[in-house]
Symmetry: C2
Subunit: 212 residues, 2 copies
DNA sequence: AAACCTAATTAACGGTGTTAAGTATATTCG
DNA sequence: CGAATATACTTAACACCGTTAATTAGGTTT
């Protein structure tokens, strides 16, 4: 091993180490941001608090994220992937087309109730996130909801669901579950029991109504 | 007419004039606030802009309203009264219990689509306003929604609506219309045509599902 | 050892809601 | 009529916020 290759190696190693440290700080920012977002909600979330939490100046965050929106987008990224995965799992879990719609709706509602802050952020306060996408992603995040449409369409084709404009039927289904989650999350008078009862009733009504 | 009564009169007159001026400025603040709220939305609404609009310092507003929330509450007060009135009118406009529910839902949706900023403020961003009430009001604003419950309950008693927990059925109905308005208002991909189509479909589904 | 690059900082700008202290005007009283 | 007082409004300030430009400190490369 000659001199040149050795210096080459150490150079690579040091660069790698630096990049890893950078990645670690980026992750630390993400973790702190996620924690503070959950703790204080969207309205009470501030970059300065994130900076203080990790022991850096606020401006440092701008070396790792474009701006506040970019950081928030990254924070809810994993949560959104989880949401998408759960919908897919629900879709796969049922064979009966009508039951599949019900399970999908239930999965949607369950996610919203289990992750109120993230749900509110994505589907209420920053709906622009749904149509935004990063480099490396081909589809906007809203495309995860296409699975609802597909379930309705397939159920319609097998004849178990009433005919009609698929988009409108899908929108109605989306409105139903979104409305349920929004009320349950946002309205102080909706406690867990009332939310659960309303969800059950609403899903029953929806499935009954869709039936051909 | 002796001296004392005359001074008494002028005193009262001047006080009345002062109070009227005060009332006028209060109204000017309200008007400016309403205009700016509609123009910039809840997030972009600021007391300093209101102050500049009426040609006063921001602190002056605090002589007429407790704080920002108090001003906003007052701003949407008339809009909420209008909302309440429209629901009542819809209720009164139909005789058939099932049709009454449909008309109520339509009135709810129409109000939301016609007043997106106000709807968003009351039912999304500041849901605490629904449970807050001023002196002189016996009921919180959310009580206007009890008319939905009543319509469901009466339709149920006449046998045209399926049996079941009234509150849950009412909540499901509320969730449906609230979800529709929320999506139509908040989601960029919902244009007027799509919102209208989804509303029609959803109302059809809802009425069908409620039917005994 | 000097030059360079990079990560982080400091300082600042313009904005927000809100409070305390001060001022000027109009009203009341002796 | 002049002095005291009450009222309406302003000024100044505090503590935040997101964001940008200029600057410093430290490690890497030459």
């Amino acid at each position: 091993m000659n001199k040149e290759t050795r210096t080459q190696c150490t150079r690579n190693a040091s660069r790698q180490r630096r990049e890893q440290q950078k990645e670690e700080l980026r992750q630390a920012i993400l973790d702190a941001a996620a924690e503070l977002l959950l703790a204080h909600g969207y309205e009470g979330f501030s970059l300065r608090q994130v900076a203080e939490q990790i022991g850096y100046t606020p401006t440092t965050i701008y070396l790792y994220f474009e701006d506040k929106a970019d950081l928030l987008f990254a924070v809810v990224d994993s949560a959104y992937a989880d949401f998408s995965r759960r919908l897919q799992a629900a879709y796969d879990s049922a064979d009966d087309p009508l039951q599949r719609i019900r399970v999908l709706g239930r999965a949607y509602i369950d996610f919203g109730l289990a992750n109120p802050v993230v749900y509110q952020l994505i589907f209420v306060q920053r709906t622009d996130f749904l149509l935004t996408w990063r480099q490396g992603e081909q589809q906007p995040r809203a495309s995860a909801l296409l699975i609802l449409l597909r379930a309705v369409e397939e159920a319609q084709q097998t004849g178990v669901v009433r005919p009609g404009d698929v988009q409108s039927l899908g929108d109605a289904l989306w409105a139903m579950v979104h409305g349920l989650v929004s009320l349950a999350i946002g309205m102080p008078m909706f406690d867990a029991a009332r939310s659960r009862a309303a969800s059950e009733t609403a899903l029953d009504l929806m499935i009954d109504a869709l039936r051909a």
